[in-house]
Point group: C2
Chain length 140, copies 2
DNA sequence: TGCTTGACTTCGTGTTGCTCGAATGTTCTA
DNA sequence: TAGAACATTCGAGCAACACGAAGTCAAGCA
Protein backbone atom coordinates (compact mmCIF):
# COMPACT_ATOMS: atom_id res chain seq x y z
CA UNK A 1 0.00 0.00 0.00
CA UNK A 2 1.35 3.37 -1.05
CA UNK A 3 0.67 6.93 0.07
CA UNK A 4 -0.15 9.69 -2.35
CA UNK A 5 3.42 10.96 -2.46
CA UNK A 6 4.84 7.60 -3.43
CA UNK A 7 2.21 7.20 -6.11
CA UNK A 8 3.03 10.68 -7.33
CA UNK A 9 6.64 9.65 -7.88
CA UNK A 10 5.69 6.42 -9.59
CA UNK A 11 3.13 7.95 -11.95
CA UNK A 12 4.61 11.44 -12.50
CA UNK A 13 1.23 12.89 -11.57
CA UNK A 14 1.07 15.59 -8.89
CA UNK A 15 -0.70 14.76 -5.60
CA UNK A 16 -3.27 17.40 -6.59
CA UNK A 17 -4.06 15.57 -9.80
CA UNK A 18 -4.17 12.19 -8.08
CA UNK A 19 -6.69 13.51 -5.54
CA UNK A 20 -8.66 15.07 -8.35
CA UNK A 21 -8.80 11.78 -10.27
CA UNK A 22 -9.71 9.67 -7.26
CA UNK A 23 -12.43 12.15 -6.25
CA UNK A 24 -13.85 11.90 -9.78
CA UNK A 25 -14.04 8.14 -9.42
CA UNK A 26 -11.45 7.35 -12.09
CA UNK A 27 -9.58 4.94 -9.82
CA UNK A 28 -11.76 2.08 -8.59
CA UNK A 29 -11.61 0.64 -5.08
CA UNK A 30 -9.49 3.26 -3.36
CA UNK A 31 -9.03 2.27 0.26
CA UNK A 32 -8.64 4.59 3.24
CA UNK A 33 -6.97 3.93 6.60
CA UNK A 34 -8.44 5.07 9.93
CA UNK A 35 -6.94 8.57 9.41
CA UNK A 36 -8.87 8.87 6.16
CA UNK A 37 -5.66 8.72 4.15
CA UNK A 38 -5.96 7.28 0.66
CA UNK A 39 -4.17 3.96 0.21
CA UNK A 40 -3.09 2.87 -3.26
CA UNK A 41 -2.03 -0.56 -4.43
CA UNK A 42 -0.47 -1.71 -7.72
CA UNK A 43 -3.91 -1.87 -9.30
CA UNK A 44 -4.63 1.78 -8.41
CA UNK A 45 -1.30 2.82 -9.91
CA UNK A 46 -2.16 0.90 -13.06
CA UNK A 47 -5.46 2.72 -13.29
CA UNK A 48 -3.79 6.09 -12.83
CA UNK A 49 -1.34 5.34 -15.61
CA UNK A 50 -4.10 4.21 -17.95
CA UNK A 51 -6.25 7.23 -17.06
CA UNK A 52 -3.29 9.43 -17.95
CA UNK A 53 -2.93 7.72 -21.32
CA UNK A 54 -6.63 8.08 -22.10
CA UNK A 55 -6.70 11.71 -21.01
CA UNK A 56 -3.65 12.51 -23.16
CA UNK A 57 -5.47 10.93 -26.10
CA UNK A 58 -8.01 13.70 -25.66
CA UNK A 59 -10.60 11.70 -23.76
CA UNK A 60 -12.53 14.00 -21.41
CA UNK A 61 -12.71 13.12 -17.72
CA UNK A 62 -16.40 12.33 -18.00
CA UNK A 63 -15.79 9.81 -20.77
CA UNK A 64 -12.97 8.21 -18.80
CA UNK A 65 -15.33 7.94 -15.85
CA UNK A 66 -17.90 6.33 -18.10
CA UNK A 67 -15.30 3.90 -19.44
CA UNK A 68 -14.20 2.93 -15.91
CA UNK A 69 -17.83 2.40 -14.88
CA UNK A 70 -18.35 0.21 -17.94
CA UNK A 71 -15.31 -1.84 -16.99
CA UNK A 72 -16.70 -2.40 -13.52
CA UNK A 73 -19.88 -3.78 -15.09
CA UNK A 74 -17.86 -6.73 -16.40
CA UNK A 75 -17.76 -8.51 -19.74
CA UNK A 76 -21.25 -7.37 -20.70
CA UNK A 77 -19.80 -3.95 -21.50
CA UNK A 78 -17.05 -5.21 -23.82
CA UNK A 79 -18.57 -3.78 -26.98
CA UNK A 80 -19.33 -0.25 -25.77
CA UNK A 81 -15.86 -0.08 -24.25
CA UNK A 82 -14.32 -1.26 -27.48
CA UNK A 83 -16.17 1.45 -29.40
CA UNK A 84 -14.87 4.14 -27.08
CA UNK A 85 -11.32 2.86 -27.41
CA UNK A 86 -11.64 2.72 -31.18
CA UNK A 87 -12.85 6.29 -31.35
CA UNK A 88 -9.96 7.65 -29.32
CA UNK A 89 -7.45 5.49 -31.14
CA UNK A 90 -8.35 7.47 -34.24
CA UNK A 91 -7.91 10.68 -32.28
CA UNK A 92 -4.52 9.51 -31.02
CA UNK A 93 -3.44 8.77 -34.58
CA UNK A 94 -4.54 12.22 -35.67
CA UNK A 95 -2.59 13.70 -32.78
CA UNK A 96 0.47 11.82 -33.94
CA UNK A 97 0.16 13.27 -37.43
CA UNK A 98 -0.28 16.76 -36.00
CA UNK A 99 2.73 16.29 -33.74
CA UNK A 100 4.85 15.39 -36.76
CA UNK A 101 3.74 18.56 -38.52
CA UNK A 102 4.54 20.67 -35.50
CA UNK A 103 8.05 19.27 -35.24
CA UNK A 104 8.62 20.03 -38.90
CA UNK A 105 7.26 23.54 -38.41
CA UNK A 106 9.54 24.17 -35.47
CA UNK A 107 12.61 22.70 -37.16
CA UNK A 108 11.90 24.95 -40.11
CA UNK A 109 11.92 27.93 -37.79
CA UNK A 110 15.10 26.78 -36.05
CA UNK A 111 16.83 26.49 -39.42
CA UNK A 112 15.64 29.92 -40.43
CA UNK A 113 16.85 31.50 -37.20
CA UNK A 114 20.28 29.86 -37.28
CA UNK A 115 20.81 31.09 -40.83
CA UNK A 116 19.64 34.55 -39.93
CA UNK A 117 21.83 34.74 -36.82
CA UNK A 118 24.88 33.52 -38.73
CA UNK A 119 24.36 36.19 -41.34
CA UNK A 120 23.90 38.91 -38.75
CA UNK A 121 27.13 37.90 -37.01
CA UNK A 122 29.13 37.60 -40.22
CA UNK A 123 28.76 40.11 -43.05
CA UNK A 124 25.65 41.84 -41.82
CA UNK A 125 25.26 43.47 -45.21
CA UNK A 126 23.27 40.80 -46.96
CA UNK A 127 20.09 40.42 -44.98
CA UNK A 128 17.99 39.89 -48.03
CA UNK A 129 14.22 40.15 -48.25
CA UNK A 130 13.96 42.77 -45.52
CA UNK A 131 11.71 41.77 -42.62
CA UNK A 132 13.04 38.22 -42.52
CA UNK A 133 11.82 36.40 -45.62
CA UNK A 134 8.33 37.73 -46.04
CA UNK A 135 7.72 35.17 -48.77
CA UNK A 136 7.80 32.33 -46.26
CA UNK A 137 4.50 32.08 -44.45
CA UNK A 138 5.91 29.86 -41.70
CA UNK A 139 8.47 32.42 -40.65
CA UNK A 140 8.11 35.29 -38.16
CA UNK B 1 -9.45 42.13 -46.36
CA UNK B 2 -11.37 39.32 -44.66
CA UNK B 3 -14.02 39.23 -41.96
CA UNK B 4 -13.78 37.03 -38.92
CA UNK B 5 -15.96 34.33 -40.45
CA UNK B 6 -13.83 33.99 -43.55
CA UNK B 7 -10.71 33.84 -41.43
CA UNK B 8 -12.40 31.22 -39.29
CA UNK B 9 -12.86 29.00 -42.34
CA UNK B 10 -9.32 29.54 -43.56
CA UNK B 11 -7.64 28.86 -40.23
CA UNK B 12 -10.04 26.32 -38.68
CA UNK B 13 -10.19 28.49 -35.58
CA UNK B 14 -13.57 29.51 -34.20
CA UNK B 15 -14.54 33.20 -34.29
CA UNK B 16 -14.45 33.08 -30.48
CA UNK B 17 -10.86 31.97 -30.51
CA UNK B 18 -9.86 34.49 -33.16
CA UNK B 19 -11.34 37.34 -31.11
CA UNK B 20 -9.62 35.96 -28.04
CA UNK B 21 -6.26 35.90 -29.80
CA UNK B 22 -6.58 39.35 -31.34
CA UNK B 23 -7.68 40.80 -28.00
CA UNK B 24 -4.60 39.26 -26.40
CA UNK B 25 -2.42 40.98 -28.97
CA UNK B 26 -1.20 37.82 -30.69
CA UNK B 27 -2.00 39.17 -34.16
CA UNK B 28 -0.14 42.41 -34.93
CA UNK B 29 -1.68 45.31 -36.80
CA UNK B 30 -5.30 44.30 -36.82
CA UNK B 31 -7.32 46.95 -38.65
CA UNK B 32 -10.89 47.99 -37.98
CA UNK B 33 -13.40 49.58 -40.32
CA UNK B 34 -15.69 52.43 -39.28
CA UNK B 35 -18.14 49.86 -37.79
CA UNK B 36 -15.40 48.62 -35.51
CA UNK B 37 -15.28 45.30 -37.37
CA UNK B 38 -11.92 43.53 -37.32
CA UNK B 39 -10.33 43.33 -40.77
CA UNK B 40 -7.78 40.64 -41.48
CA UNK B 41 -5.29 40.42 -44.35
CA UNK B 42 -3.03 37.57 -45.47
CA UNK B 43 -0.47 38.61 -42.87
CA UNK B 44 -3.02 38.32 -40.06
CA UNK B 45 -4.02 34.88 -41.26
CA UNK B 46 -0.38 33.87 -41.32
CA UNK B 47 0.00 35.03 -37.75
CA UNK B 48 -3.07 33.11 -36.64
CA UNK B 49 -1.75 29.93 -38.20
CA UNK B 50 1.64 30.37 -36.59
CA UNK B 51 0.05 31.20 -33.23
CA UNK B 52 -1.91 27.96 -33.52
CA UNK B 53 1.27 25.98 -34.19
CA UNK B 54 3.07 27.54 -31.25
CA UNK B 55 0.12 27.04 -28.93
CA UNK B 56 -0.15 23.38 -29.97
CA UNK B 57 3.53 22.97 -29.16
CA UNK B 58 2.55 23.81 -25.59
CA UNK B 59 3.57 27.45 -25.64
CA UNK B 60 1.32 29.43 -23.27
CA UNK B 61 -0.53 32.48 -24.58
CA UNK B 62 1.69 34.80 -22.54
CA UNK B 63 4.85 33.39 -24.07
CA UNK B 64 3.37 33.67 -27.56
CA UNK B 65 2.51 37.29 -26.79
CA UNK B 66 6.08 37.85 -25.65
CA UNK B 67 7.41 36.22 -28.80
CA UNK B 68 5.21 38.40 -31.01
CA UNK B 69 6.33 41.51 -29.14
CA UNK B 70 9.95 40.47 -29.63
CA UNK B 71 9.35 40.04 -33.35
CA UNK B 72 7.95 43.55 -33.56
CA UNK B 73 11.14 44.87 -31.99
CA UNK B 74 13.01 43.79 -35.13
CA UNK B 75 16.32 42.00 -35.68
CA UNK B 76 17.70 43.03 -32.29
CA UNK B 77 15.52 40.35 -30.73
CA UNK B 78 16.71 37.51 -32.97
CA UNK B 79 18.58 35.68 -30.23
CA UNK B 80 15.90 35.69 -27.51
CA UNK B 81 13.34 34.61 -30.12
CA UNK B 82 15.62 31.82 -31.26
CA UNK B 83 16.00 30.61 -27.68
CA UNK B 84 12.24 30.46 -27.23
CA UNK B 85 11.82 28.55 -30.46
CA UNK B 86 14.56 26.14 -29.50
CA UNK B 87 12.96 25.45 -26.14
CA UNK B 88 9.58 24.64 -27.64
CA UNK B 89 11.11 22.62 -30.44
CA UNK B 90 12.34 20.26 -27.75
CA UNK B 91 8.87 20.22 -26.26
CA UNK B 92 7.35 19.45 -29.67
CA UNK B 93 9.78 16.56 -30.11
CA UNK B 94 8.85 15.22 -26.70
CA UNK B 95 5.18 15.53 -27.64
CA UNK B 96 5.86 13.52 -30.78
CA UNK B 97 7.46 10.74 -28.76
CA UNK B 98 4.55 10.75 -26.34
CA UNK B 99 2.06 10.66 -29.21
CA UNK B 100 3.79 7.56 -30.59
CA UNK B 101 3.53 5.87 -27.21
CA UNK B 102 -0.15 6.74 -26.96
CA UNK B 103 -0.91 5.26 -30.37
CA UNK B 104 0.90 2.06 -29.38
CA UNK B 105 -1.02 1.96 -26.10
CA UNK B 106 -4.34 2.39 -27.87
CA UNK B 107 -3.54 -0.16 -30.58
CA UNK B 108 -2.60 -2.59 -27.86
CA UNK B 109 -6.01 -2.08 -26.29
CA UNK B 110 -7.79 -2.42 -29.63
CA UNK B 111 -6.01 -5.72 -30.23
CA UNK B 112 -6.93 -6.95 -26.78
CA UNK B 113 -10.58 -6.02 -27.22
CA UNK B 114 -10.94 -7.60 -30.66
CA UNK B 115 -9.45 -10.85 -29.34
CA UNK B 116 -11.70 -10.75 -26.31
CA UNK B 117 -14.82 -10.04 -28.35
CA UNK B 118 -14.03 -12.80 -30.83
CA UNK B 119 -13.61 -15.27 -28.00
CA UNK B 120 -16.85 -14.23 -26.38
CA UNK B 121 -18.74 -14.63 -29.64
CA UNK B 122 -17.17 -17.97 -30.49
CA UNK B 123 -16.54 -20.64 -27.88
CA UNK B 124 -17.18 -18.52 -24.82
CA UNK B 125 -15.64 -21.24 -22.68
CA UNK B 126 -12.00 -20.19 -22.83
CA UNK B 127 -11.86 -16.75 -21.40
CA UNK B 128 -8.58 -17.34 -19.74
CA UNK B 129 -7.09 -15.25 -16.94
CA UNK B 130 -10.41 -14.20 -15.49
CA UNK B 131 -10.95 -10.48 -15.31
CA UNK B 132 -9.44 -9.85 -18.72
CA UNK B 133 -5.74 -10.56 -18.51
CA UNK B 134 -4.85 -9.21 -15.10
CA UNK B 135 -1.19 -9.77 -15.87
CA UNK B 136 -1.18 -7.05 -18.50
CA UNK B 137 -0.94 -3.66 -16.87
CA UNK B 138 -2.03 -1.81 -20.01
CA UNK B 139 -5.35 -3.59 -20.18
CA UNK B 140 -8.64 -2.72 -18.44
C1' DT C 1 -39.34 54.92 -45.81
C1' DG C 2 -39.43 51.57 -42.66
C1' DC C 3 -38.44 46.93 -41.36
C1' DT C 4 -36.12 42.68 -41.21
C1' DT C 5 -32.03 40.03 -41.56
C1' DG C 6 -27.54 38.97 -40.55
C1' DA C 7 -22.89 39.62 -39.33
C1' DC C 8 -20.36 41.98 -36.42
C1' DT C 9 -19.29 44.15 -31.63
C1' DT C 10 -18.42 44.02 -26.25
C1' DC C 11 -19.19 42.11 -21.82
C1' DG C 12 -19.84 38.85 -18.60
C1' DT C 13 -20.61 34.16 -17.23
C1' DG C 14 -19.73 29.02 -17.73
C1' DT C 15 -16.61 24.92 -18.52
C1' DT C 16 -12.69 21.80 -18.16
C1' DG C 17 -8.88 20.19 -15.86
C1' DC C 18 -6.23 21.08 -12.98
C1' DT C 19 -3.40 24.01 -9.17
C1' DC C 20 -2.96 26.00 -4.97
C1' DG C 21 -3.62 27.87 -0.20
C1' DA C 22 -5.67 27.60 4.31
C1' DA C 23 -7.15 25.27 8.14
C1' DT C 24 -6.94 20.98 10.42
C1' DG C 25 -5.24 16.37 11.87
C1' DT C 26 -1.92 12.47 12.79
C1' DT C 27 2.51 10.53 13.38
C1' DC C 28 7.37 10.43 13.86
C1' DT C 29 11.61 12.21 15.57
C1' DA C 30 14.96 15.32 18.05
C1' DT D 1 7.07 18.58 24.21
C1' DA D 2 7.74 20.81 20.09
C1' DG D 3 7.94 20.84 15.41
C1' DA D 4 8.62 18.77 10.92
C1' DA D 5 6.49 16.04 7.52
C1' DC D 6 3.01 14.07 5.87
C1' DA D 7 -2.07 13.62 4.99
C1' DT D 8 -7.09 15.51 4.69
C1' DT D 9 -11.19 18.75 2.88
C1' DC D 10 -12.92 22.87 0.97
C1' DG D 11 -13.02 26.66 -1.70
C1' DA D 12 -10.82 29.92 -4.69
C1' DG D 13 -7.95 30.82 -8.82
C1' DC D 14 -6.21 30.01 -13.40
C1' DA D 15 -5.64 29.03 -18.56
C1' DA D 16 -7.84 28.84 -22.73
C1' DC D 17 -11.44 29.03 -24.55
C1' DA D 18 -17.02 28.66 -25.46
C1' DC D 19 -21.11 30.91 -25.49
C1' DG D 20 -25.27 33.85 -24.79
C1' DA D 21 -27.20 38.48 -24.39
C1' DA D 22 -27.63 42.96 -25.83
C1' DG D 23 -26.32 46.42 -28.88
C1' DT D 24 -24.78 48.43 -33.52
C1' DC D 25 -24.76 48.86 -38.25
C1' DA D 26 -25.30 48.12 -43.50
C1' DA D 27 -27.88 45.88 -47.05
C1' DG D 28 -31.96 44.21 -49.07
C1' DC D 29 -36.70 44.54 -49.91
C1' DA D 30 -42.00 45.58 -49.82
Amino acid sequence: MYTIKEVSQKTHLTPYTIRFYTDKGLVPNIQRNKNNTRLFNEESIGWLIRVKYLKDCGMPIKVIKHYVDLYLEGTDSLLPRYKIILEYTHLAQKQLEDAKKRVKFMQHKVKHYTELINKTNGNTSDIINTKECLHDNFIR
